[in-house]
Every structure is written in C-alpha cells, then in structure tokens.
Amino acid sequence: MEKKNYTISIYTENNIGLLSRIAAIFLKRHFNIESITASKSEVNEVMRFIIVVEITEEQVKKIIGQIEKQIEVIRAYYHTDEELIFQETALYKVNSAEFVEDLTIQDFIKETNARIVTVTPKFFVIEKTGKRHEIDNLYDKLKPYGLMQFVRSGKIAVSKNEMPISSILEDFNTININS
C-alpha cells in the first residue's frame, strides 16, 4: 500500500500529559511525525492536535483506533490533502545589508504575498503563509541573501467535511447520564 501524507486531527480534553500519550502511540510503531501543532479548538475547553505523518492508509486507520482509545481523546479523524484547506506559516530573518539594495527580491516578496513584519538596520523579518512548496520556494530565493534564521510552523488545517465535535460531546453526556 502506498505511503501518503495524512493529516490527523485529534480533539481532546485539555489534559497535561496527553501530548506525550499521543506521541507515544507513534513512537511505539516507529512512525515519524512530520509536523505537529496543538491549540484550542472551536469548542470550549477542547484542544485540537494536528499531526502530519507519512504512512499507508491501513496504518493511519489503525493509529486512529489507538488514539481514540485514549481516555481523554474525544475523536480523531484523518484526511488527505485533497480533503483539507491547509496552510503553514514561516518566518525568515534576513540580513538587511544584502537585502535593502536588491529591488528584484523585494518585488518577489510582494508577488508571493509574503509580508515584511519587522525592519531594523541589521535585519528584516519576512512572514509567508501558504503551502509547503511556496514556503520552500521563498526559502530558496532568500538563502543567498544571508538567511540568518528560518522557522516554519506545523501544518494547520480545516477539513472540507464537518467534524461535529459539539454534538459528539452532547452524545457522550447523554450516554453517561443514562448509563
């Protein structure tokens, strides 16, 4: 079966230690996490992890099962890139001296919808939000200008399909009250 980038979205309770519990599931199966983000979600007090892994669909299904088994995980989903709207953000810190003289690179930045965040006599900080390859292109472009620092966020994504966490939580509450 073909390996692919899968984006796993995990809705959880806000609990210390859950990150390591989830990471351990990947570690146990020797799967490398390509990127990971954690933030609050659209539901009050519910966290959302977004983890990108390159594995087969069979593997991702099994890993979803293991993740959902964790007590404080509300629901986990997996998606391919086609099923998502997703972005990454990167910051590039470049040497002002090299940069300020060169109008072509300044034009390039405008064309790619990158943004200059900070300007100082010593360095510029440029921000780019977009797809991985766009961020990589800008990286290649800026590298010759004395790239002093570079950092890229993990993938953040929303799915085209609904992920009805609020109603799942309501179901949980009803089940628990009735049981």
Binding site: E13, Q66, I71, E72, F172, N173, N176, I177, S179
Partner: protein, 577 residues
C-alpha cells in the same frame, strides 16, 4: 452546554469531613469496596502507610518483598475475582519496579490501580531524591495515568481511576500523588464515577451486524469458534456455552480464554496458537467461518498472517474498536461487550450440529495423541516429564484448582494439560510473557479466592526471578501450593536454540541452588521428587496440606514442547516433532 443532572441528584449527600490527602486515599479504596492491597512502603508514600496503620482492621495490606511482586499479586487477585487489583509503592525505584506488572496488566487487560508516592510538588523536576517521572514512564503501558498535586483532587481522580480500570476493556491505571498532596487536608466527599464524556467503554451494539453474523453462522458448513479472555472479562461463559451448543460449533481457546469453557466439554477442541493443539490450528485453515469471540489475534495465535484463515469469513466479537481489523480483517465486526452481543446472537442462531466437521478435529486429536500426548502422559521410562506432573495435579484437583503458571515450556504444558471445570481458573502471563509472574500472582489468586485450591506451576528460571515472595507467603501464611518443574535450563529458549540455532546453548543452562532448603529457610513445607514412583504421593501430600507447600520436581532436561508453529510459519504447518 445543558447537561441533565438527574443521576447526580440521586446520590445521597454525605456530610463532608476534613481529612488528609493520605487518609482520603484509604477512604477512596474503602468506598470502592477494596479489602486487600499489595505494596511496599518508602519515603514518598509514608503518609499513606501511616493511615493504613490506622485502618488496618478495614483494609488488609500485604507487604510483598518487591514492588514487582505487588503488581503480580494484584493481578492474580484481579484475574480470579474480576475485581480491581490495587498496589501501592513509593516514588523512584518503588514506582519503576511496578512497570513490568503494569505492562503485563495492560497487554492482558487486567483491571488494576497502582498508587505511587511522589516527591513534594515544589521539588518536581529538580531531580530530587527518589524522584522519577513515573507518569512519563508508565504512559505507554497504562490505560490512564495522572499525577495528583493537590489533596482536593484525590477523591475525584481515584473514582475515575477505578472506573477506567474496570470498565470496557479493563486495564491498569497509575495515580501518582505528591507527598504534599498526601499531607494537605481536604473536605472528603466521595462520588463514584459513572462516566467520562470523552470515554465510551461500551460501544453501541449494532443489531444488523449481529444478524449478519448469525446468517453466516447459520449457513456455515465448517464453522469454528476461537474464544479469548473477553468471554471471561464480560462474564459471558454461560452464554458462550449456549452459543456453542446451540450452533454445534467446535470451539478452541486462546491461552487467556482457557477455563472460560470446561476443558472436557465435548465441543471444546483445545488451544490455538504456537503450542496449541494440532486440530484447531490445522483446521483454522480449513474452516469456512471463523468466529472470534473476545480475542485479539495475537501473533502467537495466528502465526504468519499471510496464511491465516484466508479461506474463511471472519466474524469478530470484540469490545475494543481498535482491535477490529488490526491483525485480521473481519467480514463482520460485532462491537460490544460479549455478554450483550452473544445474548442477542443466541436469538438468531439455528440449532445445528456439525458432526462430520467436528470429527475432523477428533481425527487430528487422535494423531496428536498418538504422536505426542500419549508419550507425554504415559511415559514409563526415563526422567519424569512435565505433563505427567500436571496430569497428577488434575487427578488430585479433579479440575477444580486454580492453576497459576509462569512463562516458558512449563506454561505451555500446564495450559495444554490442565483440566478446568470453572472459569477464572487459569492465571498466566499471556501477552507480555513475564517470567516471575506466577509466584506472586498465586499469592494474590489465593487471597482473592481463599476457598479454592491454588497451584502455581513454575519453571526453575522464572521461579528465581521473584523467589523473594516466599517471604510474603511465610509472613502472611497464605496456603499456596508451589510446584517447580526443574529441568536445569531456561527450557523454552533452549528448545529454540536446539531447533533454530544448532544447539548452541548460549546462557540457558542454570546451576541451581537447593530449592527445598530455600523454601525451608522460609519455614515452608518442602519436598523434592526425582523419581516417577514418588510423584503421586508427593502431589497428594502437597494438595492435602492445609499450609503452603513447595514441591520441586526434577524433570527431563531436554524435553521439547510440541506441537509447535515455528515463527513465520502458517498455523497449518504446525509441527508434531
């Protein structure tokens, strides 16, 4: 979000009392109906032990000789009673010594709550004396774990711990409590946990899957059942028997399913897996419908998955959704507690018999009997064999004893030959294969079921891994019967070395001490048997003893366990020699 609280209002309000965190721990255990716990004291858990001193008439604490012993004893207790086993340890080494038992409980789905002391919360992360990150260490091997740093969290967290440990697919939970949280006081008010919003222990049963399963079973020509521990955990033994008898299906068991159905039931066709019986292994690759009930298709059961039951339609009755399609693809997956799903299934099943198909199992048993079993049971020459010892115990127990086995050759022989009439009678370390499990597990089993005979069958290797628990037996006077089958080798490893490593016996020969003298050193009655002629009387003497008894049996050094499915081979390529 609007939540109905009808249930909560029903709970009678108790007047809260101010207690210390340590006392709250004990009160929580009592609220959960716990009467026996296993543990070992130390600095960071001393406040809890101080409270145990006050509550010793209500809560029996068993001091084991090592924290690993405490976990296995708690497991033994849990396995025979179905209740949650509890153990307590201090921080640092005390906590890390629990890890093997926790991992064992996790893979064998045993309900257990472990409580560990932790350094004071102001010292967390400072590499304080006996500080270890036990929450981090135990995360991959616990169903849930949590660190308590405030006394007022204790009742709710422990209520949750017990609920999680016992509900759904059971498992171990570890609660780490900082020393300051044990000393601080709280208003104690206990509410049993009845639900956690992100946790659904019992998946909703889908009736249409049950009907599909019933249709497949009703139209099957060569159906076969393989049942596992899920039947025992769900308390569905009687239902299983009704299903088996109504549909007339030959039924085999996994090592942890053993004793869920009487061993002499006519439709019980023996054990599947690496050292299981010939018939059920071979016919796994001949059946047309394979009905898996409360089992998880461990690699020791399936052999090579590429050649496992490929011709069969698989029906999987399972409580844990993560087990569905994990190793073997199910044609029909029936999620739910087997107690619920088998009951529903029964209503759809047609009365059938499959005598011709069943005969195939009998024919293959005959081959196995002639080639292996007869020789092992009725060997009249040479050194004693392990099977003869188990058989003699059967004669004496009439199948009513709880058999606790360790790990290795003797374990396979014990499971192959032991007779069981009652459920929850086979206690062994299946998934993890933990040598050293049996002696402490037998202590817990006997304390859990004091009215039943408990016999531990242990190899000379595993015995020495937790031999210090003889001290616990001596101190508590728990009347367990201990049989060490001494072949002077780590027998299973030696067998593999013989078969697959050209007899290069690397570090498998054991030069053993005088086991009888050691037992006697602990004031435990002890005897050693070397001759066949002495066996019967020695077993009888052991079984008749009202006190603990140790029996060493010198057995053939280089006996091999057959049948055997070599690693990587198909179940139907099981070898008889």
């Amino acid at each position: 979000m609007e939540v109905k609280t009808a249930k909560k209002e029903k709970i009678i309000k108790q007047a809260p009392t101010t207690v210390s965190g340590a006392e709250a721990v004990i009160k929580c255990l009592l609220e959960e109906g716990i009467d026996t716990i296993y543990g070992y004291p130390g600095g960071a858990i001393m406040p809890v032990y101080d409270e145990l001193y006050k509550y010793q008439d209500k809560l029996h604490h068993v001091l084991t000789r090592h924290e690993q012993g405490a976990t296995h004893a708690a497991q033994g207790y849990a396995r025979v009673t179905g209740k949650v086993g509890v153990c307590i340890a201090t921080s640092g080494p005390g906590a890390t010594n629990l890890v093997t038992g926790i991992a064992d409980a996790q893979i064998d789905s045993t309900p257990m709550v472990c409580i560990t002391g932790q350094v004071g919360s102001h010292l967390l992360g400072s590499d304080a004396f006996q500080e270890t990150d036990i929450v981090g260490i135990s995360t991959p091997v616990t169903k849930w774990n949590y660190q308590v740093t405030k006394a007022e969290e204790i009742p709710e967290v422990l209520a949750k711990a017990f609920y999680i440990a016992r509900s759904g697919r059971p498992g171990p939970v570890l609660i780490d409590i900082t020393k300051d949280a044990q000393f601080a006081s709280l208003e104690f008010n206990y509410k049993k946990c009845t639900g956690i919003r992100s946790y659904k222990p019992f998946p909703k049963v889908n009736l249409s899957e049950i009907e599909r399963a019933a249709d497949l079973i009703n139209s099957a020509k060569k159906p076969m059942i393989v049942f596992g521990q899920g039947v025992i955990l769900g308390g569905a033994e009687a239902l299983l028997q009704q299903v088996v008898e109504k549909a007339g299906i030959p039924s085999a068991w996994t090592i942890l399913g053993l004793s869920a159905m009487a061993t002499d039931h006519p439709l019980n066709v023996g054990m599947v897996g690496m050292h299981g019986n010939y018939g059920p292994n071979v016919l796994t690759n001949d059946c047309d419908v394979l009905i898996a009930i409360g089992m998880r298709f461990d690699d020791r059961v399936t052999g090579n998955l590429e050649h496992y039951a490929k011709q069969a339609k698989v029906i999987h009755f399972e409580i844990d959704p993560a087990e569905i399609d994990k190793n073997v693809k199910a044609e029909v997956a029936v999620l739910g507690d087997v107690k619920e799903t088998l009951q529903l299934l029964l209503g759809f099943l047609k009365s059938k018999n499959h005598d011709a198909w069943h005969q195939k199992f009998k024919d293959l048993y005959k081959i196995e009997y002639d080639k292996i079993i007869n020789n092992e049971l009725n060997g009249k020459e040479g050194k004693l064999g392990m099977a003869e010892v188990i058989d003699e115990i059967n004669t004496s127990s009439k199948g009513d004893a709880i058999i606790v086995s360790d790990v290795g050759q003797h374990q396979m022989v014990a499971c192959r030959y032991a007779k069981f009439n009652k459920t929850r009678s086979n206690v062994t370390s299946g998934g993890l294969g933990t040598m050293g499990f049996a002696l402490p597990a037998a202590i817990g089993a006997k304390m859990g079921m004091p009215e039943r005979e408990v016999v531990a069958i242990i190899g000379d290797g595993g015995y020495q891994m937790t031999i210090q628990e003889l001290g616990t037996i001596f101190q508590t006077k728990v009347p367990v019967k201990i049989v060490v089958l001494n072949n002077g080798f780590l027998g299973m490893v030696r067998q593999w070395q013989q078969m697959f490593f050209d007899k290069r016996y690397a570090s498998t020969e054991l030069i053993n001490p005088d086991f009888v003298a050691i037992a006697k050193g602990y004031f435990i009655k002890a005897k050693k048997v070397t001759e066949r002629s002495e066996l019967k009387d020695a077993i009888k003497e052991m079984m008749d003893s009202p006190e603990a008894y140790f029996l060493e049996v010198k057995v053939e050094q280089e006996e091999n366990v057959f049948p055997m499915i070599p690693t990587g081979a198909s179940v139907s390529d099981i070898r008889l020699e």
